[in-house]
Structures are given as structure tokens and as C-alpha cells.
Amino acid sequence: MSIDNQYIDDNERLRITKAAQGDKQAFSEIFFSYKTMVYRVVCKFLGASENTDDAVQQVFIELFKSLPGYRGNAKFTTWLYRIAVNVSIQYIRKRRRDSDVESLNTEFHIDRTQNSGARVEKNELQMQVASALETIHIRKRIVVVLHDMEGRTMEEISDITGLPLGTVKSRLFHGREELRVKLKKLLE
């Protein structure tokens, strides 16, 4: 397995190569390096539900299986994001199949940094926005989550999703527009 050095440094390349060969230690290092990032992404799609831990595990399992295919022609984080997004979509679709409803069932973590009164109000707002996010189509939701919640640039989102840049922009626009309309009273 040969990995181009363009997007990763030598240490990372060595670690990935070893992990692809089944080295538990190397894979564990990768796990602990990226666990928070993966968890954050999955949480933002699925919310802090009971499936989130399962989804995080699945991401790393899928990562392991796909490591031999990683050639270093994209950033490792982009590669990992791609897997995390795909696994999250699988879980969303499965949840929709199982519950037969565009779920309002997940909740996001609530900010703990403010005083009680303002915190409760901010929490409510965040919950309503999070709920509304769940109702928009998954194609738009991916872009909104990656851009507005994860802070990825358009180019990065284009790499992660494989979509043309114009499509990414368009979905972000429509996703935000849909949310703005749904949350009109809250936002204005």
C-alpha cells in the first residue's frame, strides 16, 4: 500500500500504513486522534441519541475496512468525514424506515455556560433549530451541517460529498432558506 505524501505527514502516513496492515496499536492511535471529530459530526446528524455511539463505532469499522484504499490523494480528515457522513445517512434512513416518520426525536446537547434563565431560553432555541434541521431533506441537511455546524469550506464539502461546488452552494442556500422559513418567528 502506497500513500502519497501530499496531504499527510510522514508520521501519519506510517500510522495509516501500519493500521491498514492490521496493527492494533496504530489503529488505536488513529481512533483516539479522531474520535472527537467523528463523534461531533455524527452527533450533529443524529443528535445525542442511543444510536450515536453505534454510529461512531461503525464509522471506525468502515474506516478500518477502507484503509487499504486510502492513497493520500485527499486529506485524511476529508476521507474520514466522508465515511462519517455516509454512516450517518445510513442511520438516518434506517431510523426513518423504522419509525415511519421524519423524526423529531433527537435532541442536541444544551449549552451549559450561561445563567439559568438565559440558558433555558437559548436551549429552547437550539432545540427548535435542531428539530427544524431534522425536517429538511438529507441532501440539504448534509451541506448545512458540514458548513454551518462543522465549519467546513465549500471546497472541503465538495471533496467530502463528491458534489460540484455549485451544487454545494445551491444546497446550502436552499437548506438555509427552508430553515429560515420554518423558523421565521424565532429568527426575526
Binding site: 492490521g22 452527533c43 453505534d54 463505532q57 434506517k94 435532541e107 451549559r112 435542531a130 448545512v144 455546524m149
Partner: protein, 575 residues
Amino acid sequence: MNCKLVHKHGNDYIDGYASSLIVNDVQTHLDSCQECAKYIGAIKRLKTILGDIPVPEKTDGQWKSIHENVLTSLGTNKKDIVLKFTKKVSHLQMFATAAALVLMFVSVSFVYNQFSGKKSSHSQLLYPSLVAMQGDTSKDGNKAELIKVNGVVSTTPGSMSLLKTDSASTIEIAELSKLVIKQYSESNQVYVLEAGSVQIHVNKRKVGQVYVLETPNAVCKVVGTRFTVDVVQSDRGSKTVLTVAEGCVLFKGKNGDSVFVHAGSSRSITGEELDPSEVALSTIKEPESTVEIVVANPPLPVKTKNTKDNSVAVVDEPDVVPAEIPVENSIKVYNERVRESESLFRSGDSEMAFSILQQLIDSLLLPPGLVYEAYMKKARFQKSLKKYSEACQTLEAVVGVNKFKTEHRANALYLLSELKRIELSDGDGAIARYRQYIKEFSNGLMISEAYFTLAELYHAKKEFSEEIRVYKEFVEAYGNLPGIDRAMYSLAQLYTTTQNDCAKAVGLYAHIESKYPNGQFTEDALFWKANCLQNQGKVVLAADAYKDYCVRYPEGRWISEARGRIIDKESVGRR
């Protein structure tokens, strides 16, 4: 730059992708156009809120567990992994072959029994049932499993099962449920729900086919449908009278008005409109003309009562089921009903608004997530009307419903605790609820808040020993959560002020200093550590600690005090 162009370039402007020319033009337009300013402001606010939504932290222990699960799934070295995947493939192949053989056998048996007229044995199901594995179905997918008569399907927390009982009928078994297969044959399907919740979809029954679900105190029986239709002429045009003898029929007028008509009832449509009230029952006879009538299948669940021999369900008028929610449109109708309740509430008709929400709550057709939402909306309405006790009751009800997701019940319990504390000023009630939250939802999103608030409540009651116990418990159990330094600091202060235990306080302050060098409590911890050492008579150590404070916080809030104490010590030393 006009409004249309602002909308077109708005996102680029907000995200910093727009050129300086566009930025200038947009800003100039926003200065004079209130609508566009509102639009851009809304998108910015939305983006900020989305970006601020945090995610809960995980403890080291939780990460360790996830890591172990991943490694277990993958095996521990490449050889193991290769073998595991190879085995998995082999297992898959074997399973596929076995499943195909079973299906072939069953199909042959089924066809044979159909044409030979033989009855199937009571000890074996005629149709194979597909049951989803309990726990995580995403990894393993559905696994086919034959269920025998007297078999039991039990589900654990977070899992569900799906039973396919004949060509299209299903029983969806929610978490924490137990369903017993009492009888299963072509003519008789009898199930016993001993605990939990099921959602049943029953295919059309043939004459003589029985489908019954028993619970510890009731029987639900699916019945057929029998009704008559009369058409008479009136001065307003044709009048259609529908009389239902058994089951339930959806009766719809040409203008779209519709109603479910249950057994023992009769309704009429005159012209295009549904007549508002029920009419007298007519005798059963053949309909004289064709009218579009849509028959609801399956019929809505109905209240039953036991007959003398307790063997047959008697169909009666249901009093809890909302009559107008077809299963397949439940989400759409739910949204419409909620909007209706909101509109009524805003217009002042809170009674009707609550009535609609209660119908949704009592509905057997809505998934648990929507029922939860209906409960929470009801509680919010009650709270806004200052009906705090009623709101507490509503939230208590949510906490008690096991089929709701854990985080929903946790959320309701936390809100209940806050209501008791803030609105009802019920300190003891709030303490009990926060304690319950901590005990039952140790991984809840508000666990930190619950601990801190509980400690504050004990502080207000001057029960300092309990307050100490709460902080200690929090620090020991949740060592890596945000807010631990605050808990340690509070604990150290309590040791000093209420227990006069400077040694423990010094230990905690030192721990804060080392673990949170840039934390918000570190400056205070450093000063108070020095203070504690001074109180213990450890003059040299205290002086060093004060000096350390002065070096690290030359403009700190305790700087004058710290310098003063160093000078005092030196003065004492010189004497």
C-alpha cells in the same frame, strides 16, 4: 443592487465569499432596506445558532468502551481480522443457503397444505415470521427466526422487533415489551401482550378468521365490517345514510368532508355536505344506489368489555381514539392538529387547544416521538398560562412512559425539576427530582446542571454536609466533564468555611492549579490555597504561594491582599 440580488448574494456575503465590490453594494442596500436587513439578519442568526449547538462530552470510560467495541468487532490483529471476515463470508453463504432451503420447505408445505385441505399443526407456525434481532439491527440486519406457539418475544431497552404474521400483517413490538404467541393458525391468531407496547397492522380478514390481542386486563379483537347504505331524495338533493353494524367505515362527501362511522352509529350526507349529527338507525337492507364509500382497514382500536365467559370482545364506542386520523397520514394530520391547537391557544381558546393535544396524546396510532411532542407542547402551554402544577403533572406523565426515548424522559424530568424549583418554589420537591434525574439518567445531557443545582439547593437550606456530598459525588463520577474545576473549587470553599478542614481544601486548590492551569477558578484557587496554608500555620509555604500568585497574576483581584500578606510575613520574619 436590488433586493433580488441581495437574496442571491446574501449567503456569500454572510460567509465571506463575496468580493469586496459585492460586499459594499450589499451593505449599502441593507442600510436602506429594512426587509433585506431582516432577511440577512435572520440567516446570520440561524448560522450562529447552528454553529453554537454543542455536543455532549464523553468520559474517558465511555471512549474506552467504544474503542473496545470497535476492536472486538474487528478482531485484534490482521490475521484475526482476515479470518473473521472470511468466516463472516462463509457464515453468510451458509446462512443464505439454509434460509433458502427453509423457505423452499415452507413454501412447499404451504402449497401442499392449501391444496390438500390439511390443517396446520398448532405446534408450528404456518407462515415463517421475520423477527428483527434485539439490540442493534444496523450491524446484523434482519435475521429470520421461526416463532412457535407459546413462544415469547421480549425486547430490551433500545431495541424493537417486527413480527410478520401473514402475507401483510405485522406487529411492531416496542422496547421493553413482552409478547406471547398464544395461538397461531390460518383461522386463529391470538397474542398476549404482557408488558410494553405494540403497533399492529392487520391485513383483511376472511370470514371466520380471528385476530385477537389480549392484555392483562383487556381483549382487543379485529372484527370485520358490515354496514348498510340508504339513498333517499330530499329538498336539498340526494341524501345518503350510512349505518354501520360491525367495524368502522370512512364516510366521505363529495366536498371532501369525512368521518369515521363506528359500529352502532349512523351518519348521513345531504347534497355534498356531511350532516352534523347522527341519525336514527335504519334497518339493514341492500343499498339502492352506488355511492363512493371508502372502507377503513384496519378498523380503529375500540374499547372492549369482557362478556360473561371472558372470551369475546364486545365492540363499543371508543372514547379515547381520535376518529379522524388515518394511519398512513398520521404525521400530516399530527402537524395539522398541532397547528390548530396553537392557533386556538393564541386566540384564547386554551380549552379546545388542550383538548386537541390530549387527543393526540391518547392516540394509539401515533408513534411515541409525536406523542412525546404533544405532551411537551401541552406542558409548555400550561406553563405559559402559569398552570405550573398541571404542567408538572404533564411532565410527570412523560417521565413515566417507558416507551419514550430515554433522553425524552430525561428532558421532561429535568424540566419538571426546574419548574418545581423556580416556579413553584418547592425546594424539597425539586431536590427529589434532581436526585431522581442523577440516579436514573446518569448520562443525561443536563447531568452537570442537575448536580450544581442540587448543590445550590442544599446550600440554600444550609445543609452543607449534603452539599459537600453532592460535589464529591460529581467530581468522583464525572472527572472529565466541563465544570469539574468549578465543583472542586466550591467543594474546597465548603471545606474551609463549614468544616474548617484546610488540609482537604489545600489539596483541592492544588489539584485545580495543576489540572486547569488556565481555568477560570485557578487564580482564586491559588490565592485561597495560600490563605489555607497560612491558617494552618505553614508560614513558609503560604509565603511561597502568595509570591507565586503575585508572579502569575500581577494584576489579579487579590494582588493587594497577597502583597500585603507577603510583607507582613517578612516583617514577622525580621522581628
